[in-house]
C-alpha cells in the first residue's frame, strides 16, 4: 500500500490539523485564524470531490438499471436525467442564473417541502406506539405527554388555567434537569471521541477496524 494511503499517515495528518485548529481556537496567534480558515477551505475542496464520488455512485447504480430496463427503470431515468440537466445548467449558466434559480425554487423546494410533510404522519404513528401504556414507564410518558399536549392547546388553558402552570413546571423543572444531564453527557462524550481520534484509537473514519 502506498505510504499516503496508510493508516499511520492519515492519523498524522489528522493529529497535525486538529492541533492547529485547537491552538488557533484557544490562542490569539497572529495569522493563526488565516491558517485555520485555509485548512477549512481544504475541507470544502475535499467535500466537493466527495460529492463527485457520490454522484458517480448514483450513476453506477442507476445507469445499469436503466440500460437493462430493470425494476423501476423510470426512476433511474429521472435520477440520471436530473443530475445531467442540473449540472449542465449550473456549469454553463452559473448557479445564480434565473434558470438555475427557477429550477431550484420550483422543483427542489416543493419536493423538499413535500418530503418534510411526511413527517407529520410518521410522528402521529410514532406517538401512537409510544403512548400505549404497556408498563409504568410508558404510563408516565403518556400522562406527561397528555399534559404537555393540553398545555399547548389554547382551549385547555382557557378552561383550566392550571394547565399553564403544570406545563411550565414540566418544562422548567424535570424536562430541563433531564435535558441538561443528557447535554453534559454528550459534551463529555464528544471530548472523549475527539481525544481517542487524536490519539489514533478511534479508527472508524480510517476504514474501521476498531
Amino acid at each position: 500500500m502506498a505510504w499516503y494511503k496508510s493508516r499511520e499517515f492519515c492519523q498524522i495528518v489528522t493529529l497535525i490539523v486538529a492541533i492547529i485548529i485547537l491552538i488557533t481556537y484557544f490562542f490569539d496567534i497572529p495569522g493563526g485564524g488565516e491558517v485555520a480558515s485555509h485548512l477549512q477551505a481544504f475541507g470544502t475542496i475535499v467535500s466537493a470531490f466527495a460529492l463527485m464520488v457520490g454522484v458517480l455512485n448514483l450513476f453506477q447504480i442507476h445507469l445499469p438499471n436503466l440500460m437493462r430496463k430493470g425494476r423501476y427503470w423510470y426512476t433511474s431515468f429521472i435520477v440520471c436525467a436530473s443530475i445531467i440537466l442540473w449540472a449542465s445548467i449550473a456549469i454553463c449558466l452559473g448557479s445564480e442564473h434565473p434558470i438555475s434559480r427557477t429550477l431550484y425554487m420550483t422543483v427542489n423546494y416543493p419536493l423538499s417541502g413535500t418530503a418534510y410533510s411526511f413527517t407529520a404522519f410518521y410522528i402521529t404513528s410514532a406517538a401512537y406506539r409510544a403512548f400505549r401504556a404497556r408498563n409504568i414507564d410508558s404510563f408516565i410518558l403518556l400522562t406527561i405527554g397528555t399534559l404537555v399536549i393540553l398545555y399547548n392547546t389554547p382551549i385547555a388553558n382557557a378552561v383550566f388555567p392550571t394547565f399553564g402552570d403544570i406545563g411550565d413546571w414540566i418544562f422548567a423543572v424535570p424536562n430541563k434537569a433531564g435535558f441538561r444531564g443528557v447535554v453534559i453527557g454528550i459534551a463529555l462524550g464528544s471530548v472523549a471521541v475527539g481525544l481517542r481520534t487524536l490519539l489514533g484509537m478511534e479508527r472508524g473514519y480510517l476504514r474501521g477496524g476498531g
Partner: protein, 255 residues
C-alpha cells in the same frame, strides 16, 4: 501566545478532561481496565444481524441524516462509523445483505471504504458490491424506497439525525424490522426513543466505538469521561452553594 478572552475556562476544562481520559488510558495500558456496564443497544446489534441472517433479509445502516465528518457533528458521525464498521464485519461473516445509506457526500466515500475494508478483513472482498453503500441526496423519499423495496429486517441508525429519524424508524417499524437507534441530537432523541427497540441515549453512542472494539485502552477513555461527569456534578453543587451564599461564579466561567 495569549489565550482568547471568553475561552479560558473552556480551555482549562478541556485540559482537565483530557487529563482524566489520558490517566485512565495509561491505567488501562498497565492492565487496570475499568468495568463497563452493559449497553443493551450495542449488545442487540449481534441479535439484529443474526435475525436478518435467519430471515434472509438485509440490514440497513444509517450514520445520520445530516452532519458530516468535518463539521460540529463529527463526533456523532465518528460514532456511527464505528457501528457501521462492526455491522459490516458481522454481515460479511454471516453473508448477510447490507445496505448503508447517507445523504452526506462527505461521509459517503468513508462509509464505502469502511464496508469494503470490513469485507476484506473477513476475506470476503469479492462479496462487496458498490451498491451496498448508497449516496441518497433526497434522504426522506429515497431511504423509504430503499428500505421498503429491500424489505429490511434490521434498521441501525447511529449518528446525527433530524426529522428523518422519525421517518426511517417508522418505516422500519412498519416492516417489522428490529431497530437500534442512537443520536446526540437532543431534539430528535424523543422520536428515536419512541420508535426504536433499543436506544443509545446521548453519551452512550460515544462509547460505541470503544465498547464494540473491546479494546481495553479505549474502554479506559470512557472511565475518564465518567470522572468528567463527577467534575460537572461537583461544579454544579459548588455553583449552587456559591449562588445561595450570594457569590456569583458565572463571570469566572465566562472568562
Amino acid at each position: 501566545m495569549i489565550l482568547v478572552s471568553g475561552r479560558i475556562s473552556a480551555f482549562i476544562t478541556l485540559l482537565i478532561l483530557c487529563g482524566f481520559i489520558l490517566w485512565y488510558i495509561m491505567e488501562a495500558r498497565k492492565g487496570r481496565v475499568p468495568k463497563l456496564r452493559r449497553l443493551p443497544a450495542l449488545e442487540a446489534i449481534d441479535e439484529a444481524v443474526g435475525r436478518a441472517t435467519e430471515m434472509g433479509r438485509p440490514v440497513h445502516v444509517s450514520c445520520g441524516s445530516g452532519g458530516s465528518i468535518r463539521d460540529e457533528w463529527a463526533s456523532q458521525v465518528l460514532a456511527g462509523l464505528s457501528v457501521l464498521s462492526y455491522v459490516a464485519e458481522l454481515c460479511a461473516e454471516y453473508d448477510t445483505s447490507l445496505i448503508a445509506t447517507t445523504p452526506v457526500a462527505d461521509n459517503f466515500p468513508i462509509m464505502s471504504e469502511i464496508v469494503r475494508e470490513a469485507y476484506r478483513r473477513k476475506n470476503k472482498e469479492e462479496s462487496f458490491k458498490p451498491d451496498m453503500v448508497v449516496y441518497v441526496p433526497g434522504y426522506n423519499a429515497a431511504s423509504i424506497g430503499i428500505m421498503v423495496e429491500r424489505n429490511i429486517a434490521a434498521n441501525i441508525m447511529v449518528g446525527p439525525f433530524w426529522h428523518e429519524s422519525v421517518i426511517l424508524a417508522e418505516v422500519g417499524a412498519s416492516l417489522g424490522a428490529i431497530q437500534i437507534g442512537g443520536t446526540a441530537t437532543t431534539h430528535q432523541l424523543p422520536f428515536i426513543v419512541a420508535s426504536c427497540d433499543y436506544v443509545l441515549i446521548g453519551e452512550e453512542m460515544f462509547a460505541a466505538g470503544a465498547y464494540l472494539s473491546r479494546d481495553p485502552v479505549q474502554i479506559g477513555s470512557i472511565a475518564g469521561m465518567d470522572w468528567g461527569k463527577v467534575l460537572a456534578i461537583l461544579l454544579t453543587l459548588f455553583g449552587l452553594l456559591m449562588e445561595a451564599a450570594g457569590f456569583s461564579i458565572i463571570k469566572y466561567l465566562n472568562m
